[in-house]
């Protein structure tokens, strides 16, 4: 999506209204990224709140033209979520959920709601190749670098780059071409 640079500037100048619009644009995706890591909705809501408070407090550190604003926000969300998973309370709870990836989370939400958009999503998700699920899970949701992913999967770095390109291409066809 095209980035609302004007709103970002206004927010950096202290506009609460601009910040509210930015929250509206990004909060759902950020919440999705959080819940894929922490799995549990009340904890995810708590983290979502912390992430946007932190984003407001440190928004001057984001520079337009130096990385995407969404990428910046996502990094804050990932760090907060991964921090939360390191707590003792988290480790002791929901042990059987820890191995779930984003596909499982999407399926769970889909089965809980009858919204047609989710039904559409599930169809596409089912079509995602297992290798793509693994790569998107590591690179996008868990914040691995391409180099770390190559090492973890014992795959050449070039292959990781080509595959993530193809996987996101598939995703774009599924999600954007309708």
């Amino acid at each position: 999506m095209s980035q609302p640079d004007d709103l970002i500037k206004e927010m950096q100048n202290g506009s609460q209204a601009a910040f509210a619009k930015i929250y509206e644009s990004y909060h759902k995706a950020i919440y999705g990224a959080i819940i894929v890591i922490v799995k549990e909705s009340s904890l995810a809501e708590e983290i979502l709140q912390d992430v946007f408070v932190k984003a407001w407090n440190s928004c001057s550190s984001y520079k337009i033209g130096k990385g995407r604003f969404y990428t910046w926000l996502l990094a804050i969300a990932r760090n907060a979520s991964i921090d939360a998973t390191r707590s003792k309370a988290f480790k002791n709870s929901n042990k059987n959920l820890h191995d779930e990836n984003f596909v499982d989370i999407i399926k769970t939400h889909n089965s809980l709601s009858r919204q047609t958009e989710f039904i559409g999503v599930q169809k596409y998700i089912d079509a995602l190749k297992p290798v793509c699920i693994e790569l998107i899970n590591l690179l996008y949701f868990n914040g691995y670098t391409q180099l770390e992913t190559a090492e973890k999967l014992d795959t050449p770095l070039g292959t990781v780059k080509t595959r993530i390109r193809n996987c996101i291409n598939d995703l774009r066809k599924m999600l954007l071409d309708n």
Binding site: K28, Y70, F102, H109, F118, L175
Partner: protein, 264 residues
């Protein structure tokens, strides 16, 4: 890299997911500035990933934004004007209470400080009064001595040091033959060794007859080293010797410190 090369490189995906190095980020940003197609590609990748995340989100509690804006802007949404005025008056009330309490605490502290200061000042006063008293007494004594020295009734007799015993020592006697009183200024004598005391004598020269006229006791602690001696028989000379504590009946002439005759 050409436009096509960068688009197919996998770097743009890494740029959006935040999984490439800072050198690679710089490379992508250069390409974004250069080629509009690259920017469009980045935006589409981002949109696809945002949609993917959103599909994982499910339903989000609608109170979160309120909680965030409360935390950041400290502004409560106030549904009714009535609430507003009540909360304003309670805010004012609390503020007044806090100010009042702070005022009381401040006054209490002031009071304690003043009490402490007063105590210190009173003590200082007592000490100063004592000093003034002592000084007044000292002054009266000094004036008294000055009068003695100046007056016609007192004859001044110098007692130079005995060259054999104490060549640097000296003493002065102020003698009133009518009242048979003498003041001895012994400031020029060395401090007597422990267990010894200066003894003053009046002397008749032919034949040499010494009479004890008193001890210069408490020499070391004496402020002026002026000693008043009374009931002195008509002398021709005065002498001062060093004697064992308590004094002697006859002077120890080998310890004669100073001697001087009248009428010189």
């Amino acid at each position: 890299m050409t436009e096509k090369e960068i688009i197919s490189s996998g770097l743009l995906e890494g740029y959006v997911t935040g999984s490439i190095s800072s050198e690679e980020i710089a490379e992508v940003e250069k390409a974004i500035d250069q080629f509009p197609e690259v920017k469009k590609e980045v935006e589409e990748i981002e949109l696809a990933l945002i949609k993917l995340s959103e599909s994982a989100a499910g339903n989000i509690s609608s109170t979160i934004w309120e909680r965030i804006s409360d935390a950041i802007f400290k502004v409560k949404t106030l549904p009714k004007a009535e609430h507003k005025s009540r909360s304003m008056s309670s805010v004012i009330g609390w503020a007044a209470a806090v100010i009042c309490f702070l005022g009381l605490a401040w006054m209490l502290k002031q009071n304690n400080d003043l009490k402490r200061e007063l105590r210190v000042t009173s003590t200082e006063n007592v000490i100063l009064k004592d000093k003034v008293n002592t000084n007044e007494i000292d002054l009266a004594e000094a004036n008294n001595l000055l009068e003695v020295i100046r007056s016609q009734e007192y004859e001044t007799i110098s007692l130079p040091g005995n060259a054999d015993v104490a060549p640097d020592a000296y003493a002065t006697v102020y003698y009133n033959k009518d009242t048979k009183t003498a003041y001895i200024d012994a400031n020029g004598l060395p401090t007597p060794p422990r267990g010894k005391v200066y003894q003053a004598w009046s002397l008749i020269m032919e034949p040499l007859t010494p009479s004890d006229i008193g001890l210069l006791s408490g020499f070391e602690d004496h402020k002026t080293r002026f000693f008043k001696l009374e009931n002195i028989p008509s002398p021709e000379a005065f002498g001062i010797t060093l004697e064992p504590e308590g004094g002697s009946k006859t002077p120890t002439l080998s310890q004669l410190y100073a001697i001087g005759t009248l009428g010189q």
